[in-house]
Symmetry: C2
Amino acid sequence: MSVTLYDLAGADPALRFSPYCWRTKMALAHKGLAIETVPWRFTEKDRIAFSGQGRVPVIVDGDRVVFDSWTIAEYLEDTYPDRPSLFGGPVGRAHARFINGWADAGLHPGIARMVVRDIFDVLAPQDQAYFRASREAALGATLEAVEGREARLEAWRALLAPVRLVLRAHAFLGGEGPSYADHILFGTLQWPRSVSAFALLAPDDPVAAWFGRVGALYGGLGGTARTV
Amino acid sequence: MSVTLYDLAGADPALRFSPYCWRTKMALAHKGLAIETVPWRFTEKDRIAFSGQGRVPVIVDGDRVVFDSWTIAEYLEDTYPDRPSLFGGPVGRAHARFINGWADAGLHPGIARMVVRDIFDVLAPQDQAYFRASREAALGATLEAVEGREARLEAWRALLAPVRLVLRAHAFLGGEGPSYADHILFGTLQWPRSVSAFALLAPDDPVAAWFGRVGALYGGLGGTARTV
């Protein structure tokens, strides 16, 4: 039986761009679980009301409903302990929680500012008004007023320094093979890649080569941002 | 037999302020190894020439000489696998390497700018000229021209967001107990604490409570920045 994932989609239902849904999709594949995705839009709160809240990812695994990408990763590790580990034990899990917070607090605000206008363009029409209102309130500016990403790119790229340090020693953030830390950062970077032609990573950045390696995992699941 | 640690000291030989030496000291204590520290000054390159390089920490463990705090942590984990683990396995180790890079690349430059003048003041006279010349070259300014730390403090504190996220769930960055990730950040924060009256952490910051918990470990080893 496959696990159902409610997965944020654009106007094109095959375009899946949520960093958090990507983390969950990679974690499900890491565990070798079959995935059935359901395209979902920001304004379809009613369709996931059964989860008791209004955001994706939401997974349905038999009679279990779980939401929030970090909570889902812990659920998968605890429910499927005999399948490939996402964390490599409790210490690796605590350290991965740090990396999750680093990506969310450190990388996401800068990405959001750089691609927010591009996200608007790929959204389903019914989502665009919601997105504009909520994001403009958060940014304190119109989507069109958030500019100058070329000037901010270098400082954002510098935030990836600790990733590059790990990649000097290892192929993956998890070491010899991928861990949930890889899925965290992969989801983060898949998000701008899927909505924008603006390249956040320089082609010669070791992080770009790593991104290709992770995208090639699980039959190339993340090789494009199109639906599985 | 105890492990000898060459440990950066101030004019007062009991004052030990290197973040990297503190990481090593905590890791040695974590492994339950007896430690003998040797106070060392920046300009005493000849005294550690036997290590083949000129920086501390350097440890001497029987006939083994190891330098660089990360390399020492890996050495201790591999040499003493039956003692309490620093990493909790290979995935936790790779994730800890990320946290090491995050602290060094993300936190240290800001700390250095905020306390560089204070460090100068605690140094042994023979170290002060060396320190001023090397740091002023790196900073591109005189030590006295690096000011305005009150204005930079809030942005620096925001960098600790991922730490606070972990501490919502766990007592330590390693989870239920300390891991080398705790020793990494502890060393980073012990450094300004030991040389400056300028408080980097707000008293009500959960990171401050965590700092107290880690300082109380191993018989209160890190409770002050005075020598063991």
